[in-house]
């Protein structure tokens, strides 16, 4: 075995540094879990935030790390949602956690099948194809109304207790804890994955596919893999929605959902995994507030936020996070000399 060269050592250190936990991350997750006890009467909206965060995380995997622009990510969300609801309704897999995994896997299969469609063409083609896939699935769900309930939605779903012990209560206490734990576990997995050489290879593909190919990265294989994984995540998010509400409707495939999701992710920022999570919190709180203010016209304000975000510039809008980050870096004894590594 040969001694690694200095460059190789540096690279290895860089990879390790990426995998290291930042103090702010501990703060974030402690805050998230303390909401179980601190905000007991907000659990219904917190549940929504949790699955939305997971959904946004899934988009971040393909947009922030692989640079695939998708306007049809709701496709996998919808597949997962219907899968979870149908599994429970027909008593195929009654235990929610297993059913959730199954829903995710079904979505992943759909993701794998459609990922090959996403390999060709430029941004616009991908955009159209992803949008088309979501629309086709929506039409399918609409047409097979015997199975899916069509436009009325899938009703009469009863969820068994989680792990046979924790019942979904009407205040959403157990539902929220369940969603948060699922989110946390999948987040850990995503974090680990993105700090691995696989994640770095993906970033290089995003940066320049041609060069990535030239240094021996199998671009297509990476894209297929990450697309499938992201579909799994989205499917699980959809499954969580179906399980916590015991309902699934055509709305899960809608274009608005994909578009809102982009906004969620963009508010939080792409490419560092927390963007979707933070975005989900901001988005839901904003939506809640605006919906009370102007029930019918809140899309206007959502649109306005998007326009302003782009006009002002996304990077400039997100600069507010910088003081927090520098402060955290100063607190972090390990981050010395690394600067803005996070």
């Amino acid at each position: 075995m040969t001694e690694p060269t200095p460059t190789a050592k540096l690279a290895a250190q860089g990879i390790l540094a990426r995998a290291r936990w930042h103090p702010l991350e501990f703060v974030f997750w402690i805050a998230a879990f303390s909401a179980i006890w601190l905000l007991p009467n907000k659990h219904l909206i917190l549940t929504e935030i949790a699955w939305l965060a997971l959904f946004a995380l899934s988009l971040d995997l393909i947009l922030g790390y692989a640079g695939i622009l998708s306007l049809g990510h709701a496709a996998f969300f919808g597949v997962g949602s219907y899968a979870a609801a149908l599994l429970a309704k027909h008593g195929i897999i009654t235990e929610p956690v297993l059913a959730l995994v199954a829903a995710g896997l079904i979505a992943a299969v759909v993701g794998f099948a459609t990922s090959f469609l996403m390999l060709r063409g430029a941004d616009l083609t991908r955009l159209m194809v992803s949008l088309g896939v979501a629309l086709v699935l929506r039409e399918l769900a609409n047409k097979f109304s015997d199975l899916t309930g069509g436009a009325d939605g899938l009703q009469g779903v009863t969820m068994e207790p989680i792990l046979g012990r924790f019942r979904f209560d009407m205040f959403g206490h157990n539902g929220f804890a369940y969603c948060l734990i699922v989110l946390f576990v999948l987040f850990l997995a995503a974090r680990r994955l993105m700090a691995s050489p696989f994640g770095l290879a993906l970033l290089s593909v995003k940066g320049n596919p041609l060069r990535a190919r030239a240094i021996g990265i199998n671009v297509d294989a990476r894209l297929v893999t990450i697309y499938t994984i992201a579909a799994f995540y989205a499917g699980v998010a959809g499954g969580l929605l179906a399980q916590t509400t015991a309902f699934s409707s055509l709305d899960v495939f809608s274009f608005d959902r994909s578009a809102d999701l982009l906004l969620v992710l963009i508010i939080g920022g792409t490419g560092y995994l927390y963007g979707g999570l933070i975005g989900a919190v901001i988005f839901k709180v904003m939506q809640d507030y605006l919906a009370v203010l102007t029930p019918q016209y809140w899309p206007f304000w959502i649109g306005l936020v998007l326009v302003v975000l782009v006009m002002v510039g996304r990077d400039r809008m997100l600069r507010w996070t910088e003081p927090v980050r520098t402060l955290a870096n100063r607190l972090d004894w390990r981050a010395k000399g690394q600067g803005q590594a996070s």
């Binding site: 616009l124 083609t125 194809v129 086709v136 039409e139 963009i266 959502i302 649109g303 996304r314």
Partner: protein
């Protein structure tokens, strides 16, 4: 059978007028503009307000719809769109989706959420029969107007100085700039004109497509199909694509109503996979 073909052609022609502006803006500035339908909707509402509320004659209103939408397009281009040309596609998508949401909510606020119809003049209602084919007069009018527009556009693009500048700018923007062509100005004009055409299409289409605040969302996919299938390098591509789409949609809804829009989306995906540059485009070099 022939009536379906006829309706399909009318529908396709309408789609062409609605979408051709989008195809030029996409080809010229590589701008992904999802908000194109908003300009069409503006045209439709202008027609409805003028005809129903103010009693302006139908013909005048249609021309007004064109100019109002064009004016909105021009202002929007100068004020906002200019800033997003150089940004990544993600920003363009976000920006234009934002515009769509705003326009939907604004139309809802101003006009109410229900579907509205314009009163079309007596002379345009009803059918005439030629060789046993029943043809709606209104659809005949649409075919006439849109056909004339398509011919006119083709003429402008191929035979005028502006047209050759435009084609040069679409082919290679940098070289065109180097030759002293003011690409920014050309683009502003084209954008305004394209928006105007969208407004005209929206106005003509209130009868066929229906007009409600969700119009930009509902037809966005259709416009995008026309543009992506037709390619962006000519007028004929989108024209043929719109005709195909129109006929396929009408025929699909008539013969296999159960499948609904399924046919269209599937065809689109297949075409995009088969030829990502569009069905009628030569291989792009950008």
């Amino acid at each position: 059978m022939l009536t379906i073909l006829f309706d399909g052609i009318a529908y396709g022609m309408l789609l062409f007028v609605l979408a051709c502006g989008l195809s030029v803006t996409l080809g010229l500035m590589n701008l992904v503009n999802l908000a194109h339908g908003a300009f069409a909707m503006a045209g439709g509402y202008v027609l409805v307000i003028l005809v129903n509320n103010l009693g302006v004659p139908f013909w005048v209103s249609i021309i007004c719809a064109f100019f109002v939408s064009a004016a909105i397009g021009f202002v929007m281009e100068k004020a906002f769109y200019v800033h997003v040309y150089r940004k990544p596609h993600l920003d363009q998508v976000l920006f234009t989706i934002g515009l769509v949401f705003m326009s939907v909510a604004a139309a809802d606020f101003a006009m109410g959420s229900s579907q509205v119809f314009a009163r079309i003049p007596q002379a345009l209602q009803g059918q005439i029969h030629v060789f046993g084919i029943g043809m709606g007069r209104y659809r005949l009018l649409i075919i006439a107007i849109c056909g004339a527009l398509a011919l006119g556009l083709q003429y402008v693009l191929v035979y005028t100085r502006f047209g050759s500048r435009l084609r040069a700018a679409v082919d290679d923007q940098r070289v065109a700039r180097g030759l002293g062509i003011n690409v920014g100005n050309i683009f502003a004009l084209t954008f305004a004109f394209g928006s105007g055409l969208a407004g005209l299409g929206g106005a003509l289409g209130t009868e066929i497509l229906g007009l409600d605040p969700t119009f930009p969302l509902k037809y966005m996919i259709y416009f995008l199909i026309v543009v992506t299938v037709g390619g962006t390098s000519s007028i004929t591509g989108p024209f043929l694509a719109s005709l195909l789409l129109g006929i396929a949609d009408v025929a699909g809804k008539y013969y296999v109503p159960k499948l609904g829009a399924f046919v269209i989306y599937t065809i689109m995906i297949v075409v995009l996979i088969w030829r990502p540059q569009g069905l009628f485009a030569r291989a792009a070099n950008k």
